[in-house]
Amino acid sequence: MKLYTRPLYAPDTSIGKPRDPSMTTSATTPKFVARDVKVYYGDKPALHGIDIDILDKSVTAFIGPSGCGKSTFLRCLNRMNDTIPSARVEGTILLDGEDLNDRKVDPVVLRARVGMVFQKPNPFPKTIYENVAYGPKIHGLATSKEEMDHIVESSLKKASLWNEVSDRLHQQGTGLSGGQQQRLVIARAIAVGPEVILMDEPCSALDPIATAKIEELIDELRQQFCIVIVTHSMAQAARVSQKTAFFHLGNLVEVGNTEDIFTNPKDQRTQDYITGRFG
């Protein structure tokens, strides 16, 4: 019944850690189980039936040519497609065994558990502190100023941003560099204590140095979260992910260990894509 109720949160110990000890999972338990997921925009099908298991405590990369439906599928995982009036989702997606698309599931609660980072850094036009405190505030995760301070600090630390901004927490978040903004957004997502972080091309607006920092961060976050990342950079997928899924024209062509996909793809289309023959 977890998806129906407001998440419980003990700020000092549990940021990112599983809240329920019995739920402790490892890199071999699937976090998401998706079966026959179809998405339509109006009458136009965008996904033709996706079956995939996404493991906890690991990084799964979605790759594939532009327009193949990576973002669409990613948005199914936290029901962000609900916000697009024309979008219709069919099929089942289980999160820890519960169907996300069940009518009883409150998408608001779901999204607190499954956070999302977007392609373009989108900090709110508020201070750095307020940006991070935003989620905890609306979910009532802190009862005192100290608790909130603690959440903000530990989230910024987890996003490796603390050292750069600790002396200017009360300046505008929009005043940071692009790479810092992206880490701020990640800190903002972490602050709610999610179990999953979805990232849609998080580095495509960043320079190589900022990208390297984010990748490093993703690798650290993997210890505590289930991470799904959409990327156009094959090298990035190879560097940060353990599992890779290749999408093509609304189909999931192949999914497997990243090493296997890149060294020994089974499908011709995957082979063509990673060797740069189309895309």
């Binding site: 916000t83 609660v109 999204r111 609306i138």
Partner: protein, 476 residues
């Protein structure tokens, strides 16, 4: 005659265009090259040179011709006329002008020496008029032909007609903006000038800080209190009161409907509500005015009288039972209704320009839609929205019709919404309607009020624009 000449000029220019175009085509063809510019540009080039210099002369003739004629005719005043009083001298020349140009002459009968002088002047005016007009016409013709000839002579495939036309276009655009600027400047200067005359008879301090407004008394020099009361404070208080009431209605309703339209409404609802709001925006203010005076006013009065009946004997009850149709509340509420579409369409644009990525970011954190609006969208749009509100305020301050019809005319420095009040704009109207001499303090007071109002709305608009600008920079 001038009109026909102008028409002829247009026809000539159109012909020039055609000839220029075909000439450019033929020249290019005969040399076997492609010209630098398309033939149409050559056509435009010739047409412009045929038209503009000649048209300028016609323009000068129309605007200044009469004045030059008058100056020449009035340069020497006949001895017989010199003996007339000044007023009649003016009349004399007016009659001369009327006789020459076929206007309405006065009924004055000129005889004897005056008759001779009159005929002489009429003859002189006629000849001056002829000379000026014919000269100008001739000049127009010459310039049109010369301009066309000059332009034809320059045509060749190498000639950069396109760049030339470009320069003319930019010159034309500059001229238009100069006209706009000069007009504004002229209005401000005349406002300043007349206000200065007003402030010579009423001290600016008395005007800005005086609390007694009764300009009517000043009309009659023999009466007690002939100096009149020119303290504008009651007017500004009245304006302020009505503006506040109007904003209390327009700001929340306008803003919330904008939020509904931009964040909640389905495309279908939006397609219905937007046009309805636009219709509301298109209702003339005078219609709002009589709506206020005939519908809202009486029903408000009835309501307050009814309310007063519940407290018989108390001063409050007495007061409520005597409330009249005309009150600040009625004008304010109706003005607020008038401002709703204004506020909501501005706010709608501003809310829509908050990037979708901010909404997505907030929704993806598990915020509900209303939390997202309250905590992210509105704060992000706040500067723009306050700019919109300031624009609405400056419209409320400048609005006249509704107040005239619904708030009464009594200048009272009161903040009681049930009282009758009057505003700056309404007083300007009452000061200037009817037959007025334009040099009594009473009429000049209108300029003083106008200047002050202008300063206030200018300041409001400048601040609002700055805010909106800053807001837009934020998301570029």
């Amino acid at each position: 005659m001038t009109g026909y000449l102008f028409l002829a000029l247009i026809v000539f220019s159109v012909a020039s265009f055609m000839f220029g175009r075909s000439l450019a085509r033929r020249k290019a063809a005969s040399q076997g090259v492609r010209g630098h510019s398309l033939p149409a540009f050559s056509g435009w080039f010739v047409a412009i040179w045929s038209f503009i210099p000649a048209a300028l002369i016609l323009f000068v003739l129309v605007v200044f011709g009469g004045r030059v004629e008058n100056t020449i005719v009035q340069a020497d005043v006949p001895a017989a006329v010199q003996q007339l009083p000044e007023l009649n001298q003016g009349l004399f020349f007016q009659d001369v002008r009327a006789t020459v140009n076929g206007g309405m002459a006065s009924t004055t009968v000129y005889d004897g020496e005056l008759k001779a002088a009159f005929d002489h002047k009429v003859a002189q005016a006629k000849s001056v008029d002829n000379t000026i007009t014919l000269g100008a016409y001739a000049l127009t013709l010459i310039l049109a032909l010369a301009g066309a000839a000059f332009a034809y002579s320059r045509l060749s495939p190498q000639f950069r007609a396109r760049n030339s036309v470009e320069r003319w276009v930019s010159a034309f655009l500059v001229a238009c903006s100069v006209v706009a600027i000069l007009t504004t400047l002229g209005i401000i200067l005349s406002l300043l000038w007349e206000s200065l005359r007003f402030f010579q008879s009423v001290s600016p301090l008395d005007f800005l800080f005086g609390t007694h407004w009764s300009p009517q008394i000043a009309m009659r020099a023999d009466q007690v209190g002939s100096s009149g009361g020119f303290g504008a404070v009651p007017l500004f208080v009245g304006t302020f009161l009505i503006m506040i009431i109007a904003m209390c209605v327009a700001a929340p309703v306008g803003l919330y409907s904008a939020i509904y339209l931009s964040e909640y409404a389905s495309p279908f609802m939006r397609a219905w509500i937007k046009p309805v709001l636009e219709i509301l925006a298109g209702v003339p203010t005078v219609v709002y005015g009589f709506f206020a005076a005939l519908v809202v006013g009486p029903s408000f009065r009835e309501f307050f009288n009814w309310l007063g009946a519940f407290m018989p004997g108390t001063p409050m009850g007495e007061y409520l039972m005597n409330v009249q149709n005309q009150m600040a509340l009625v004008a304010g509420v109706v003005m607020g209704i008038m401002l709703i579409p204004f506020v909501s369409s501005l706010s709608d644009d501003i809310i829509n320009s908050v990037p979708q990525s901010l909404r997505d970011g907030s929704l993806a954190m598990g915020a509900t839609r209303s939390e997202t609006i309250k905590k992210v969208v509105l704060p992000a749009a706040l500067p723009g929205i306050s700019g919109a509100m300031l624009l609405a305020v400056s419209r409320a301050v400048g609005e006249t019709m509704i107040v005239t019809m619904a708030a009464g005319l009594q200048a009272k420095a009161t903040l009681n919404p049930l009282d009758t009040v009057t505003t700056v704009t309404v007083q300007i109207v009452t000061l200037l309607t009817g037959d007025q001499e334009f040099d009594s303090p009473k009429t000049l007071a209108a300029f003083g009020l106008g200047l002050t109002l202008f300063a206030v709305t200018l300041a409001l608009n400048l601040i609002a624009q700055r805010i909106v600008q800053k807001y837009q920079e934020q998301y570029d």
